[in-house]
Amino acid sequence: MTTQTANEKVGSMKDSVFLKVKDQIGWLMLDLQGEKVNKFSSPVVLRFQEVLEEIKNNSEIKVVVVVSSKKNIFIAGADINEIKNITEESEFLKAVTVGQELMNSFEDLKVPVIAAIDGACVGGGCEFALACDYRIATDDRSTKIGLPEVQLGIIPGFGGCVRLPRVVGLQESLGIILAGKTVPAKKALKIGLIDSMIPKAVFTKEVEKFAKDILKKGAKKRRKVFKPKNMAQKLTESFLLKSKVFKMAKAGVLKQSKGHYPAPLEALQVVKDTYKSSNREKSLKREADGFLKVAPGAESKNLINLFFMMEDVKKATGVPGKHIEVEPIDHVSVLGAGTMGGGIAQLAADKGVHVRMKDISVGAIAIGLKAAHQIWDKKVKRRRMNKFEYTQKMDRLSGGLDFAGFKNTDVVIEAIVEDMNIKKSVISETVKHLKDDAIVATNTSSLSVTEMAKAHPNPKQFVGMHFFNPVHKMPLVEVIRGADTSDEVVAKIFKLSKDMGKTPVVVKDGPGFLVNRLLLPWLAEALFMLEQDTDVVKLDRMYTHTFGMPMGPYRLMDEVGLDVCVKVLKIFKEAFSDRIETSDLVSKLSDTDRLGKKNQKGFYTYDSKGKELSFDDGVLKDLGLGKSNESLSTEETIQRGIYTMINEASRALYEDKIVETPEEVDLAMIMGTGFPPFRGGLLKYADSIGAKDIVAQLEVFESKYGKRFKPSDSLVSMANGSKTFYN
């Protein structure tokens, strides 16, 4: 691969999409200049139309083969940057129509077209491939074909909703479109999305052979139509059951999205309205209408915004404005093989890092190994992993009671008990067994990283790396920069987090760092609300079903552990005594034997596997709560929780500068707490309400409930200047 310089970036479109003709085969070559991927931007579409004319006018061409020169990419889809900037409905319509017409023109070419796919073929790329007569692909890992549009809050708009069901049938197409999935080559072959899967090493040769074969057979056009292979498929496709299939798909979507995401529902409706229709024009019109319905919505804008935030993280180093080359990390040691330590060890080993765990007993090591086994074993049972991969991963984990292996370690992650003194003494002992440039990272959730760094002879090498529980599921890592942490160390941990499949956000040291600092006022408020209204289930549901949080505050407290919540709330109150108030229920809660999910007993009860059973009204008695005397409204409940978080976020962002941008707050909230992505994050949501309204409401609460609602100075000044968090 050649690296592109800035000058080449403005390379001509003629070099990006061009035609080579040889022995009756027209090779349509894709190599978008100045970009790593091929995508459909307006200039690319224009250029495609030019090439299309060339093909039509060249009578020598009897078959067309479309290939990409990009590594691991066929076509990555439409240019999301363009979609992002569109606001007018007419522009959306134009964009969709131009794309649809291009796909139609390829479908209507007199000669057959073969899409030769090596790498990602997604979104518009997949829609293009669907408009071709044949699709063949390499067996490479990078080959992925599918329609992820709904993940951006839009629906396939270049004919994907119409052509995919035709090619692979109802069942499989709904699976792909509604979940925004891509499938690997093997699965694509199985469902008939591609006609042949070819070993990568012989792809070029075999593609030519495939094309010549078609020439030999008369170079006929072909339109693939799904044919049910077995009884089950026949039934799904049958007139009788089709409506049932749609109904079930809809129920599935609603269960997943709780109705907050319009795109999959619209996509489903489009498929339903157009499936098996022979009128292409009408079908595509219906698809375009659907696209127009969802694309301008806030949900889509927010999801696209999130997409770009994620893209930025991929490029970022963790140290803004600085380019730091970081070597990949090969050896990690973990202190403590408990829930967090074991989880971190499992994750690192999963991503190819050799991990050494250290704990105080062989029993503790065994628990860590068992936890890792269980996560991988589940994948083996679901055939997501074979037994060889399992053994390889498992074998990367080992444990001991001493510091054996620590000298070879690049990074030590500390995940022992949350106690500053113990942590400090363990850290100073650990450092003696490390090589000079090893990094020590703490997974503390509540203690000061700067203070802890004092136990390290070289605090530059010390950093926070805060994973969330359960480690293998929660995508956020807060990389906590202590007062002395060096840029290189931040960059290394930032990269390690990404290599471990996580989304890192760099935060400054401070009580609760970012995510817990914002969550705690919400949880504290939930306990105040409980004093007024004891309908725990109802209150939780307001946040989940109405607002879109993955869990309400009570359920979340159970998940975190009630003892941990109590402890952290107390720390928090100490840290911000000027404004944080906590309900009397906090100390009452610590007097009960309720620890939450971990002892199967909290606000809810759980079975031994941690599955939530039901609300446990015994908790009310334990807390000395009688029948509630009022019923809080949905509006007040949500405002008291969410506005409190917004208020705290404004302080964290502007006063304590825990993070530098509102994007980081939103990314951290979405990745760390599951804050509803369709709302774009906490501060995007705040902007949609407006600082003025938020301040006004906070003031109402302040006079009614107390100083904890006092709006921050920065929020007040935003309200006065009619400013927003973004821009």
């Binding site: 062989v362 090591i365 065994a366 990367r396 054996a404 292996g405």
Partner: protein, 459 residues
């Protein structure tokens, strides 16, 4: 006659090979704690721990050499599998070696040779064996039936194949039920383990070779049982004092890796003459004295050591435990294979440039109590030296006080492919504790060989 060999094979190299460190897994009697733990897992656990314990820079490793005798069908070159599972770079080569009971001494001596010659500087050597998992072998006739069924395409062929198998199975069950375990039979699957422990040249089981020695050297049943009880006592004491845990790393086993095995499962606290007296002779029911109790048990386990050229070891900041002074393998009558140590030791001593009286500590593998006791007698006998070895005087007496001081294979067990390394490891650790300068690790080898290695304490 070993005399001719005493004239050959002294190294001209000035290089020195040291053992930096070693680790083994717990050993467990076959069919018990480790019966489901694959030999690769045993080997991997020991090797991974060794790499961690030494904080080894993996890129220094030139080769992995591992002894193994009962080649698992799914890990033909088990050394390569163990090396990769232990996280060693794919560029590092790996070989499995087989010299029966001395396979894991063969691995160390191969590594020693490669380092002495200057070809290599750093070798991971050891052995792994899971004797619980040696397979049964179908007899050919039965195998043909199974194959026929497996290849049957048409329904009728399948039914026919099934029926023939079924009728064969019925007669098989009948035959197995009515014949003695060691009696040959047409239908019974053969036990690979049993065949492996039978000499293919003279057709004697290893136990039968021990019976020969017991009779020829006039060793009574009581003496042998007393030897065995003593072995258990020493092993139990070594375990209780924590000595053995210095060389043992725990195994995390079971389907979910949550079962921890951190001690040998073999040595018995309550082993006694009375208990042993109740056992019947196994190999010669009428005139025999060798029982399952005074022989070593079939065992599962693994052991690994890190070999390095001395200068490199020092440059890496290591404090090696021992230096390899010399080694030898020698052959003798297969039916008296138990005397192997007497044949190989003089050559090893010669190559090391020392004599028996310089040796302060000895590990002589206890395949059978009778076999060790016969060795002791032969070692001390001028007559034996003159008649069998072609030497003028006895090789030298082996005093009980310096022999297998932490117990031997009768208690701890003898995983055939791993024992050689276990002997060396146990020896050099104890040499350090006792401040002994020179030690000898030696063992008899099925098929009629002996192996011996002379080691010098370095620290």
């Amino acid at each position: 006659m070993i005399a001719p060999y005493l004239k050959k094979g002294n190294y001209m190299s000035t290089r020195e090979v040291v053992i930096v460190e070693g680790v083994r897994t717990p050993f467990a009697k076959s069919g018990t704690k480790l019966k489901d733990v694959h030999a690769t897992v045993l080997g991997k656990t020991a090797l991974t721990e060794l790499i961690n314990k030494t904080n080894l820079n993996k890129n220094l490793v030139d080769e992995v050499i591992i002894g193994n005798t009962g080649t698992p069908s799914d890990a033909a070159n088990i050394s390569r599998v163990v090396a990769l599972n232990s996280g060693l770079p794919q560029s590092i080569s790996a070989a499995t070696v087989h010299r029966n009971c001395a396979s894991a001494l063969e691995s160390i001596s191969s590594g020693y040779e490669k380092i002495m010659s200057g070809t290599m500087n750093c070798v991971l050597a050891g052995g792994t064996e899971n004797m619980s998992q040696t397979p049964l072998i179908w007899n050919k006739e039965h195998l043909r039936r199974l194959e026929k069924l497996a290849r049957a395409r048409t329904p009728i062929a399948k039914i026919k194949g099934l029926l023939s198998l079924l009728s064969a199975n019925i007669s098989q069950v009948k035959e197995i039920a009515t014949t003695r375990p060691d009696q040959p039979s047409k239908m019974k699957p053969r036990m690979a383990l049993l065949e492996g422990l039978t000499d293919p040249f003279v057709g004697l089981n290893m136990g039968e070779t021990a019976e020969i020695l017991a009779k020829e050297f006039g060793l009574s049943r009581e003496e042998q049982d007393a030897f065995a009880v003593n072995s258990h006592k020493k092993a139990v004491a070594a375990a209780e004092s924590g000595k053995l845990s210095e060389e043992i790393t725990p195994l995390y086993i079971g389907k979910d890796h949550s079962t921890v095995i951190s001690e040998d499962y073999g040595p018995r606290k309550d082993q006694s003459l009375e208990k042993l007296a109740k056992l019947k002779p196994y190999f010669d029911r009428k005139f025999g004295t060798v029982t399952a109790g005074n022989a070593c048990p079939i065992t599962d386990g693994a052991a690994m050591v890190l070999l390095m050229e001395k200068e490199q070891a020092l440059a890496e900041g290591y404090k090696p435990i021992a230096k390899i002074r010399g080694y030898a393998f020698a052959g003798l009558e297969p039916e008296r294979m138990g005397l192997g140590p007497v044949y190989s030791t003089p050559i090893a001593l010669k190559r090391a440039g020392v004599s028996m009286k310089d040796i302060g500590l000895i590990e002589l593998n206890e395949a059978f109590s009778a076999q060790v006791m016969a060795c002791q007698k032969a070692f001390a006998s001028d007559k034996f030296a003159q008649e069998k070895l072609g030497l003028s005087h006895a090789v030298g007496e082996i005093r009980d006080e310096i022999l297998n001081v932490n117990g031997g294979a009768v208690a701890i067990g003898h995983p055939v492919g791993a024992t050689g390394t276990r002997l060396v490891l146990t020896l050099i650790k104890e040499m350090q504790r006792r401040d002994v300068e020179l030690g000898l690790a030696t063992l008899c080898i099925g098929g009629g060989q002996g192996g011996a290695m002379v080691l010098e304490r370095v620290n």
